[in-house]
Amino acid sequence: MKEKLVLVGNGMAGMKVIEELQTIAPDKYDITVFGAEPYGNYNRIMLSPLLAGEKTLDDIMLNGEDWYAERGITFHKGREIIEVDRMGKRVFADDGTVEDYDRLLLGTGSHPVVIPVPGHDLPGVLSYRDVKDVDAMFEASRRHRKAVVIGGGLLGLEAAYGLMQQGMEVTVVHLMPWLMERQLDETAGNYLKESLEARGMRFRMQAETSEIVGDDNGIESVRFKDGSEEAADLVVMAVGIRPNKELAKRAGLHCERGVVVSDTMQTFDPSIYAVGECVQHRGTCYGLVAPLFEQARVCANHLAGYGFRLYEGSVTSTKLKVTGVDLFSAGAFQDAEGVENIVYQDPHAGVYKKVCVKDDRIVGTVLYGDTGDGTWYFQLLRDGTSIADFRDSLLFGQAHLGDSGHGGVSQVANLPDDAQICDCNGVCKGDIVQAITREGLFTLDDVKVHTKASASCGSCTGLVEQILAATMGGDYEAAQVKPMCGCTDMSHDQVREAIREGRLTSLRQVFDNLGWKTDDGCEKCRPALNYYLIATWPDEAEDDAQARFVNERMHANIQKDGTFSVVPRIWGGVTTPSQLRSIAEVAEKYEVPTVKITGGQRIDLLGVKKEQLPGVWGDLSDAGFVSGHAYGKALRTVKTCVGSEWCRFGVQDSTTCGIELEKMTWGTWTPHKVKMAASGCPRNCAEASIKDFGVVAIESGWELHVGGNGGVKVRATDVLCRVETIDEVKEYCAAFLQLYREEARYLERTAPWIERVGLSYVRDRVVEDPEDRRALAGRFHASQKQAQEDPWQFYSKNHQDKFEPLKRAG
């Protein structure tokens, strides 16, 4: 017998709980949903585009009625619950329907605030809250010309913009000195006002409404405290929302401004939950979608009986959904003790950026006119990242960290719909916007799955996030603590910590001890877990071949036709005629179709069939080669120039340095691939300044570089320090790599890792603290004992049959 779950309120928050439950515990409850509105669940944040005529009701529908039917959910539309009998565990609807419950979920949302001035109840005075209001505004705009919107906040301005789009003359009345005073500072508020005025919107600032003048036949004007009047045929009140707590209050649940809930989204009656705009959590009521979704996940987790997630409040950000107006704000941006404002202002271009910093951490930001870096600042704010290392270039944006971005494009707001965003999969801006609105997508992962944008190399991820933010406004939910994958709610860092603390040494232990939702993980978590296990416990954990991506399992790179490529290691790119002869012989003997010089100073044999691999490896092994790990999240190459041995400019023997580095580090498994280089003089012909670890010879020794990248996102290295001897170079290299191995997340290159943790942190551990450095290097060398067993030699002599078909028939 299933338990009965009743949801009161068919809105976005409550329905998100139901959707989550369908995924994590689809058979636990018999579900009944009551909704006062006569529709399925629609995307309320798309009301403004609906009013502006940019979308239709069908466009913004999230779950149509068939959705409920297909899942066996009873849906009572257009029926309002008027009473909860907590003793009898029943709810009563306005049409007499009675429903029993074991668990009750309140998602009653909010009411628009109505200012109780004389005339507030006249026909022609509307609020802006649901589809019914939008319909009424459409209707009014056909018959009338003059509209007054009371409230110059987010909702009021979006309503005003929508009415203007419907051809009305609109005046916005605002009590405060500047617009959106809760989201903007005075400067940005004034920029916004100028820009809206240029579009024809009119304003009355610091005006307090005293009366709405009119009669049953309609409105004449709005009168203000100072005695002045504004003619109007239509008045929209959009001064705010208040939680709809009436039902809860009647049921005797504890309410303050909203229905008070715990961190598990339970009210004072533990069998009754509440989510969304009706709740008050730790003293705060929220009106944006992002926090509601976080609440919904926690609530669903508790309803499913897991109970290991907690809601601890949200930091929210704001964007205005008015086409062509670009503003973004987040966090606290009012002047306060100890807070410093870093400001950029260009009145001619209409650009204003303010980032508020306290103790080297961002606490708030207001951006106007150029909001491309809003999501980046918001991420830094939420992660509490120290900005000390790039404070001087912070306002110029993420692009100035050395990331050359994506075809030079960093602003998507002004791009046309046919601009290609994802250059790997050929996805245009319009496709992404359409998918977001039509499919009701809310997260980057949703967009990846549905459009394939940013699902390949990932270089357009920032652009896709901007499109999400621009399309959804303040409701865009940037990743908070991101779960590793759908198999768990734990983040990479949490899982890693658990592996370390709990001394977990196998995938099975991870799945069992950490409550994995799947029997054997998925393609995303298994390789990550395998890496964390062997990196944390190199002596105890067993490397699980089935948790390896094909390339690492086969020790060769899979190609588009299913054949493989084989790249033997050529130490520092220095070879001999006899080595070259051996490679040539292998290429001829196995009829290798293509032989290519790689970018990393080696030779690639392409088109080798799976069953040929052990033979190819055996012959290369006999000639003295080991695997080049060109296929792995591992040390790839150490690129060198000829250094002081030959070059007339060379100041150190960088070739020897490079070869020694490669001999020390080959075979190590790392969170992502690692490339190194050693140059013989500051001309830097080995291009060490775009490597994960680069060495540049200087007259007095060596300059060490870290965190460079030459691929998807070009990033020049940061200088770590200078040292004098090759032995020191090796010690610093080992320590740096070990820190990266121990602390970066799986599939995170050194460049984003350093941007996340800060160069200062890496310097503290590797440069400033000699003891820590030696300990890190020591752990690196210890793990190398396991890692430096050549897989090619092993598989050329063992298990060769695994490379053959199981059977040949027909």
Binding site: C522, A545, Q546
Partner: protein, 113 residues
């Protein structure tokens, strides 16, 4: 199911369950091309043509999880029991019957349907 039973062909002995790594696959060459025989975590076996419906990638080299295999080329997920791509991707790969008896595996070398 009825149709599957009536398309009678000789079952082919292809090897033992233990020849296939758990959560892995091995290939059987047939007249219809390479067929990937998968073994999942619950020791269920499935057989699909070894070509991803997307761009022909060798599914036998993919990662097996639950009743899915992830193609190694572009990470499409294919339902092992149906041969269909997991939504929102679209596509289908020919499926073969495979059965176990005393640890021996038998493949019907004619595709289902």
């Amino acid at each position: 199911m009825q149709a599957e039973q009536t398309s009678r062909t000789d079952w082919l002995a292809v090897g033992r369950l233990d020849d296939i790594p758990r959560l892995g696959a091995r290939v059987v060459e047939t007249a219809h091309g390479p067929v990937a025989v998968f073994r999942n975590g619950a020791d269920e076996v499935f057989a699909l043509l070894d070509r991803c419906p997307h761009q022909g990638g060798p599914l036998s080299e993919g990662m097996v999880h639950g009743r899915l295999v992830t193609c190694p080329l572009h990470q499409w997920n294919i339902h092992l029991d149906r041969g269909e791509a997991r939504a929102p991707d679209h596509g289908c790969v020919p499926r073969f019957q495979v059965k176990q008896a005393d640890g021996e595996l038998f493949l019907n070398p004619e595709p289902v349907g």
